[in-house]
Subunit: 462 residues, 2 copies
């Protein structure tokens, strides 16, 4: 206890009393979005600069405290869960240090909220393409530490590809300065991509240089009921070929999703009767409208019977409405417990197989269980939530293990975009190449020898 | 000596006499393209499979031998230079294990030559976008270990972005299996991107899953003389906006380059008189021809005075001719010694500044020195070769240091795409963030504790 008091005193001397939260004041960090994971930290420190983050980490080191960074607290895998750690909130580091439209770069601090970056870019007719439902809360440090995915990866690539530079506070408090804005840089090992997606176990991201891209001037957006998943993939290929790859989102929303949507958000009226398979399509063009392309490709697919029904939006309000139908996914997913939530990636042509085999497996283990699927189909990324009929750990784990087995069998990944955190440690042990796990542990031990940076996350103990 | 004999015996027992080269038989590995770097290995082993690579590395470990992997031997930085190491040539691992057109993936072994991948993709109307002059010799393991860049990065992104999966033999002989073909995979630390560009210091790449993309059906290609560098960048932005980012190459070839081209390759006739600044432009479209866009944008730029002269190619032979003018760069660069060759990256809007300040510095140090510049301008990547008038180490280093100073001052990198090898160790010591160097060394020590994987490369001793 004495040690803790000394640590808190040091932190207060550095940051001021108002920025070292304890007790009740930490309540808003205690619970995550899923409701499954809890944080019960010794304190939450709120440094206002990279230098203060560095000093805070040094104080933690001196007093032997574990350090858990937190951004917008929108993660889904227990990445900030802890007991007795020093949480470091980046929420005061909200400066957009620089934005140079001609160079297409924004230099941001780790606490900037994603939608604020969108707004700042938009003022210059630019976009930062990464987007997902929680964009109004998620912060730079968090969405980079999880290499967050979202709906636009099919067009603009992964988050890693949108980051040019990075600033990280290491376990010993030193600042790693990789804040370049270069398109090419082969000067040694690629440290940037190692810290992106590391979920805070190697260091704390404090700043980044992000790529901004020209804002599409024209959008073509549609909701289409399709015959089956292969028809959806054929449709995607035709749209890509006809538009030079202008498809920005291609989201699979089958009957299970549309039914949950109708139940929980009847205000989001659906343009046609619910059918087995539907996709939301958004295309973006700089130099030409894409409405004709959308209409032609869909008309052709209606004739071949691959598309059963379709609605092309006529204005921005309709477009927003279709997007809202997709973006409330997290809200309508976490409506009841128990759940087994999965975020898996598959080879593009393996999604239909996955769903079929998973349903067969579920019918054996828990025939009355419901499930809900929504997928970034263009990336082979399926969000599958199972609602089992019984809430005992062994039962939930049996379901999880069955799903993992199908995923790994098909050459997939047990985490596509949400990360590992605490939620998938057992899965990592069961399913990840043991050599890869060893290499990860060796890197972790090299950079954080005292195991104080978000300990216990990402890599299961051997 | 006894040890060496024992090691060679073990290798011969594993691979057969024909695949353990010594003495004269190693001559073709002794010299690199630049003529500056030498390899004098104990032997060159030529394993035929991942398992044989693994066994070879284990034999090297048992006998305390350093291991230096070699692919097509087209590197420019001394990455395979050594004395007394066991070189491991991947040249027998030339299988394209799988190519699935609908999934857009090719599974290749590390010894496959780049142009063979191009041909295999082309047969299915697909491309593997990475390309550069040495594509007829460079092999997978080499171009991935250097994260090779080239002319198409402006359109298709870096080599890292074109790799989905990777297979690596580690220092202890274990095989790290990251051979997935997923678009998204957040299951732990990003090991793939760490081994890509590591120049063999962390392990030996033995296989990869590469992304294949639809082959453009239409090309528009031109050579244009421009007023100055800012005009060139304005031209690039206009072309990108008018074509939805279809610019595949935007190569700067100023007077110094065109003059050397005229001298060394008079057969490659130039379409107009040499002027101060020229750019080669190539655009590629899937769904529409881009000739009209090229013509309109160039015509507009001629009117504003930004473009002084231009030639748009009318057929594939002319297009090939223009590309040849660019791709002989390595050939016409390394025609005489001494040279100080630089491969630097700058913020896009810093290239003009760099050239001006570099010329001013050179005028002070060696007023009679020549220089030759060719640049991937769309990436801010400048290849600058200086031909000093005196060949003494201190003089060459003074030039190098002056250039580095300008680069770092402008927020650039001292290696854009060629890598570090041996050639830029001093530069790394002088110019790289010392914290970054420490982190690299810590990772190296964790994965290769005995320092046997391509030792002495990339990271200078502290």
């Amino acid at each position: 206890m004495t040690d803790h008091r000394a640590a808190l005193n040091d932190l207060r001397a550095l940051l001021g009393d108002a920025h070292v939260l304890t007790g009740e004041a930490t309540a808003r960090f205690a619970k995550d979005w899923t409701g499954k994971w809890r944080a019960d930290p010794l304190a939450v420190a709120r440094p206002a600069s990279t230098d203060q983050v560095s000093q805070t980490v040094r104080i933690a080191a001196r007093h032997g405290l574990a350090v858990v960074p937190v951004g917008g607290n929108t993660g889904l895998v227990g990445g900030t869960a802890n007991t007795g750690a020093l949480m470091i909130s980046l929420e005061r580091m909200t400066a957009i240090r620089d934005l140079r439209p001609d160079a297409g770069v924004a230099v941001v601090e780790a606490g900037v909220v994603l939608s604020d970056i969108h707004d700042a870019a938009d003022a210059h007719d630019l976009i930062f393409p990464l987007t997902f439902g929680a964009r109004g809360s998620a912060r730079v440090g968090g969405f980079l530490s999880t290499n967050a995915g979202g709906s636009n990866v099919v067009r603009y690539g992964s988050t890693r590809g949108l980051v040019l530079g990075l600033e990280v506070v290491l376990a010993d408090g030193r600042v790693l300065d990789l804040m370049s804005e270069l398109r090419k840089d082969n000067s040694g090992l690629d440290l940037r991509d190692l810290f992106i997606g590391a979920e805070g176990v190697l260091g704390i991201i404090t700043g980044a240089v992000l790529r901004l891209l020209p804002k599409p001037r024209h959008h073509a957006t549609a909701l289409a009921a399709v015959r089956d998943l292969p028809s959806a993939l054929t449709l995607l290929r035709r749209l890509q070929a006809a538009s030079d790859g202008a498809v920005e989102a291609f989201e699979y929303m089958p009957r299970s999703y549309m039914t949950a949507l109708a139940t929980h958000r009847p205000d989001l009226r659906q343009p046609f009767a619910i059918q087995d398979h539907a996709v939301m399509i958004d295309m973006g063009g700089l130099s030409r409208p894409l409405g004709d392309v959308m209409e032609e490709v869909l008309a052709e697919a209606v004739e071949t019977g691959e598309v059963l029904d379709a609605m092309i939006t006529q204005n921005e309000a309709q477009r927003r409405h279709i997007w809202d139908m997709r973006e409330v996914a997290a809200e309508i997913t976490f409506t009841r417990l128990p759940i087994v939530d999965n975020d898996v990636a598959l080879p593009l042509d393996g999604v239909a197989d996955f769903i079929e085999r998973m349903h067969a497996g579920l019918a054996r283990i828990d025939p009355q269980a419901d499930d809900l699927i929504v997928a970034h189909l263009g990336d082979g990324n399926v969000h599958l939530t199972v609602y089992p009929t019984r809430d005992d750990a062994a039962h939930l784990d049996a379901i999880r293990e069955m799903i993992e087995g199908v995923v790994v069998d098909l050459g997939g990944s047990i985490s596509a975009e949400h990360g590992i955190g605490l939620s998938k440690l057992a899965t990592m042990t069961r399913r990840k190449d043991p050599v890869a796990l060893d290499v990860m542990r060796a890197i972790k031990a090299a950079l954080d020898p005292d195991n104080r940076m978000n300990p216990g996350k990402v890599m299961p103990d051997p």
